[in-house]
Symmetry: none
Subunit: 236 residues, 4 copies
């Protein structure tokens, strides 16, 4: 049994603009004359590169095992530069997670595309979730929260407050709408909206841990799950 050696080079998807072709050891010094105007722009770019890199590393190794040295290398900046943007490793981690959750939060704010049946809405949500979360890096972030939550209560709290509780509230509203409209018969489902999203979370975890052994068609699974709740549709 061997763990992933910490020297493993997680293939770096170079983060955008910077990183001139050919530059071996990423020498970011020779950036040439900087137009005073785009200073801020350049800084923002750097910061973005750091965020990208840090997320990748944190996802791959977890908080403690991540080395800022690696983050810097991957971001193509010097180690010290990280400290121009973040107070320390811990704050960086927390800030990163928050930032990464923002899109999810926003989606929860957006009123669900209310056209059509409740099932369509839920299915739309689920497809979206699976496409945008379960099979992307955002899914890894969810797993990261599960992993580091106990050591970063603030992160867990934030996630609960901003994502989980809102998401469940929205889901409950949908369920109640479904019940009101007669689409859903099981009234008690409204007491446990978690049930509605459970397969989505399963999918997230499955992708990280077992996809290699047994690929999982998350969308289809979710559809079957919805059949349980709304009754079979395809028969029609």
């Amino acid at each position: 049994m061997s763990k992933i050696p910490s020297s493993t080079k997680i293939p770096a998807k170079p983060t955008g603009s910077r990183r001139v072709a050919g530059g071996a050891a990423a020498t970011p010094k020779t950036v040439a004359a900087t137009t005073p105007a785009n200073r801020a722009e350049r800084a923002a770019e750097r910061r973005a590169a750091i965020v990208e890199a840090a997320l990748d590393e944190f996802i791959a190794r977890g908080f403690t095992a991540t080395r800022l040295d690696d983050v810097a290398k991957r971001a193509g900046v010097a180690k010290g530069t990280i400290y121009l943007h973040f107070k320390d490793k811990e704050s960086m981690f927390e800030e990163l997670i928050r930032t990464a959750l923002v899109p999810m939060i926003n989606r929860l704010h957006a009123p669900p595309p209310s056209g059509g049946s409740v099932r369509d809405m839920v299915e739309g949500f689920a497809e979206n979730f699976i496409r945008e979360v379960a099979s992307t890096r955002r899914g890894d972030i969810v797993r990261l929260i599960v992993a580091e939550g106990p050591r970063f209560p603030a992160i867990a709290d934030f996630y609960y407050r901003e994502v989980v509780s809102r998401g469940l509230a929205g889901m409950r509203a949908l369920i109640e709408l479904g019940i009101a409209r007669g689409e859903i018969r099981h009234k008690s489902l409204a007491r446990f909206p978690q049930i509605m999203v459970a397969p989505a979370l399963i999918a997230v975890i499955w992708q990280s841990l077992f996809a290699r052994h047994a690929p999982l068609d998350a969308t289809e699974m979710f559809r079957v799950h919805l059949d349980l709740i709304f009754g079979e549709r395809r028969t029609t």
Copy 2:
């Protein structure tokens, strides 16, 4: 936002006989009046204490952040003693996880208590799972696997092979039985036995991360979930 300081003393559930109450610096030399007569017995006890302590620390901090120093202190042994029982931190971690999973594996071997309806069987299984796993340290171990799996592929593999694939196979058999007996109408459920257990896993994660904010009645949630699959029962 602050993470749990690494110096935080996770309250140690003292492991059995040794460890006199109040003893601060845990001086394990003066055992004197402690009963265990023979050598082997003492050794086994020590090893058990280390296992206990290590599991607690690993669960609380994750692999990398766990200090063997703390494990030793919590177990009431010297640091060197750990190395009489385990090759190194990594082997200790892997061995611990495997050991901790054995009870779960055994339960999967045991033929499901086949009396009664399929729903009863599943419900029995779920109640059991929630009682023995979701709300105990075994649940934390599942979360630990989710957390460290990507860095310990061997652990993830082992968990998949010994627990997940077997568990799902068993569940699929039950589902097929339910379909054959007419208890379950949704035939495609057999393709995704994950759906059946999804709420159980949700419960495990919820306990670790959010129980503090919003307690979750896992048993009741699971019952509602079963209602979706088997049809409501309580109406009777």
Copy 3:
């Protein structure tokens, strides 16, 4: 009988500019007024200081007993700094030895100052050797190789290949020249050039181990040795 306590402070010949006199706890941060203008220069200086210090410690204690902590202290750098220059203790040791041998190797390359008789050449070589090796730290390095060679075969190999075999080859050539010129009568000496240098090595070892008890005039000894080979000279 007591060995040198490992805490013994081997008097450090301070390595160059840095290191203000008397400074106990060696706070190398406040360099301030120290001259070395540019980065590279400073780095080279530090590296040199480490090399100096490490050699002294290795010579005084041998490989295993040398503590990098002491090396760092003696070099006036932090422990971590060593690792900016060397991969680990072992590589440092091997690299150090090789580096320290380079001057000897170079001397072997240089064509012997061919003026005069063979005896003069050998005597010149010997005087040089005794002046530059036997009574200096280079002699200690030879002893160090003798001491650690069996545990570092690579070091022994390197020493044999680069110094011993070349040195003996050169010496053999000289001997043959001496035989050809009629300066040396014992033809079989060419089969054992080791004999020619034996007293030099004896001198090296004597200096390290017994000089304190009985000083040895290595130069004079070598001259007597040459008398055996070339016939007495002083009579003239």
Copy 4:
């Protein structure tokens, strides 16, 4: 470049009586009924085994790198047993060296076999030395003293006092005899008896370090050396 891994099993020449055939992990407990009479005998045997084992390990690894665990294993005793015979590692080392030197010391006491010419006597001594020292473990001990001398001044002192100074004194007497008898013409040789033995020491070191690369016929070398001093003999 790689050093000998410390795990290297130096092939143990099992030390005599003990060590029952087939006994894997050398379980010295089952020694059966001990005749009260031979207690002391058994103890002496054990001690001898420890001495043997320790010498081998010290020679192979040097003082610091030698683990008492390995010594115990090789001697077929428990680690604690070593402490019944020696105060600590350091004393053991010093005592071992002293003990190992005794035979050499004794030989020096024994009046040189005074029959025949001085050359015969020296040649006899040298042949003896090369046979009994240079190519045996005793030679390794000489190298060990060279290696550890600086860190164990007491050892170096002892060696100087008991072996070196006596040996040289004896050699000087022989040289003076040779001069008196007209066998040796170079009178100043008496001032540096080291010259007489230098090739012998060279041979010792050569065996340890370079024998593998280039075997050395020490006896023949010594004979050539003597030819230098006494004049060629074979021509006759």
